[in-house]
């Protein structure tokens, strides 16, 4: 699988040269667009990350975990995963940090870690991408799609915890 990425680069560059494209100036142009895109993203990132930091530091996340744990264990989700599941919709790097921590604490092949990996892999940072996608738009009625996405993330999590017991 790792072979695929260098192969893609090779094929695209070779084909572009064959088509007489100036590969260097195109590549730098694309990278330049990446710079302006990241710059336009930065205010959003700053707001979301500040929110995450406050959420953690104020003890809100601990309270929410305590409050939600019984409901989650009713759905068959181990208590140890509550924090990961709560952070995942907000921040990709935050949830990745918890995932790393979970794997280190419980061992890579434990049920908890496998479950955490599948939960992490089968959900997205819903709030984060909604903030980025719709930053420059006037789209109304975003609550419904966000709610639907969160609901199906929860569904994926419940399914992941059930599947990891079998597979």
């Amino acid at each position: 699988m790792a072979l695929l990425i260098p192969a893609i680069f090779m094929a695209v560059f070779a084909y572009a040269l064959y088509k007489k494209v100036n590969v260097y100036s195109c590549f730098t142009g694309g990278a330049g667009k990446a710079l302006s895109f990241v710059m336009s993203l930065l205010p959003c990132l700053a707001a979301v990350f500040m929110m995450c930091a406050l959420f953690e530091e104020s003890g809100l996340s601990a309270m929410l975990i305590k409050f939600l744990s019984p409901a989650f264990s009713f759905l068959g989700i181990p208590e140890e995963l509550t924090k990961l599941i709560l952070i995942k919709p907000l921040s990709g790097s935050g949830s990745l940090a918890y995932l790393t921590q979970t794997i280190a604490e419980y061992g890579a092949d434990s049920y908890i870690s496998r479950c955490a990996c599948v939960c992490y892999g089968s959900s997205e940072t819903v709030f984060y991408i909604s903030a980025v996608y719709f930053a420059g738009t006037k789209t109304k009625g975003l609550l419904l799609p966000i709610g639907i996405s969160l609901l199906s993330s929860l569904f994926a999590t419940v399914l992941a915890c059930a599947l990891c017991r079998v597979i």
Binding site: A16, G30, A31, M51, S130, V132, S152, S153, A156
Partner: protein
């Protein structure tokens, strides 16, 4: 986002006022600093993939891919914009491959649909991306292999099943909710006409 953001800020400020008022500003600064670090990481990823995409675009490769995808795209997203379809195709391809650079393409597609006034397509693309469908969960596999897992890849199948089913669920819910809304507004319009 507006409501969540304000609620978290106000609630945290209220809690920290009593617990540890000095931690409030430190938390904010820490958040901003991790945003700056994240932006740097994102630039590294995007510079590589958007550079490659620009080369592919100049060579006419993305146009070829998009042309094949266009009929399906126009049907799914109810759009006429070729630009948006090309961006959406790149976005979904990056998602599936786990290339990590799917967001810029999604933003491009959303901006094109904003010009078209196609809010349905914007929301649908968000729904599809939010399900996190991925053929190869590369990050997670690498993490597990690094932690000494005996079979790092055995989460492939459950991950794929979970995200595919979650995508099916959210797409079905969204499309049916849009249909219901359309029906309600049609009925309202009919009632309005009848009234006069």
């Amino acid at each position: 986002m507006n409501a969540v953001f304000a609620a978290v800020f106000i609630a945290s400020a209220a809690l920290l006022m009593f617990a540890a008022p000095d931690k409030f500003l430190t938390a904010l600064m820490g958040g901003a600093r991790s945003a700056a670090t994240a932006a740097l990481t994102l630039f590294c990823i995007y510079a590589v993939w958007m550079g490659l995409a620009a080369v592919a675009e100049a060579g006419g490769i993305t146009r070829g891919v998009a042309r094949r995808f266009a009929p399906l795209c126009k049907k799914i997203f109810k759009t006429r914009s070729d630009e948006a379809c090309e961006a959406a195709a790149m976005n979904l391809a990056c998602d599936l491959l786990g290339a990590g650079a799917s967001t810029p393409f999604a933003v491009k597609a959303v901006a094109a649909w904003e010009k078209e006034g196609n809010f349905y397509a914007q929301k649908l693309l968000f729904i599809i991306n939010a399900a996190g469908l991925q053929l190869i969960p590369a990050t997670v596999t690498a993490l597990r292999a690094g932690a000494g897992s005996a079979a790092a890849a055995d989460i492939f199948l459950p991950s794929l099943i979970c995200s595919a089913l979650s995508l099916a669920l959210s797409a079905a819910l969204f499309i049916s909710s849009e249909r219901i809304r359309q029906k309600i507004s049609e009925r309202k319009r009919a009632a309005f006409r009848w009234h006069f």
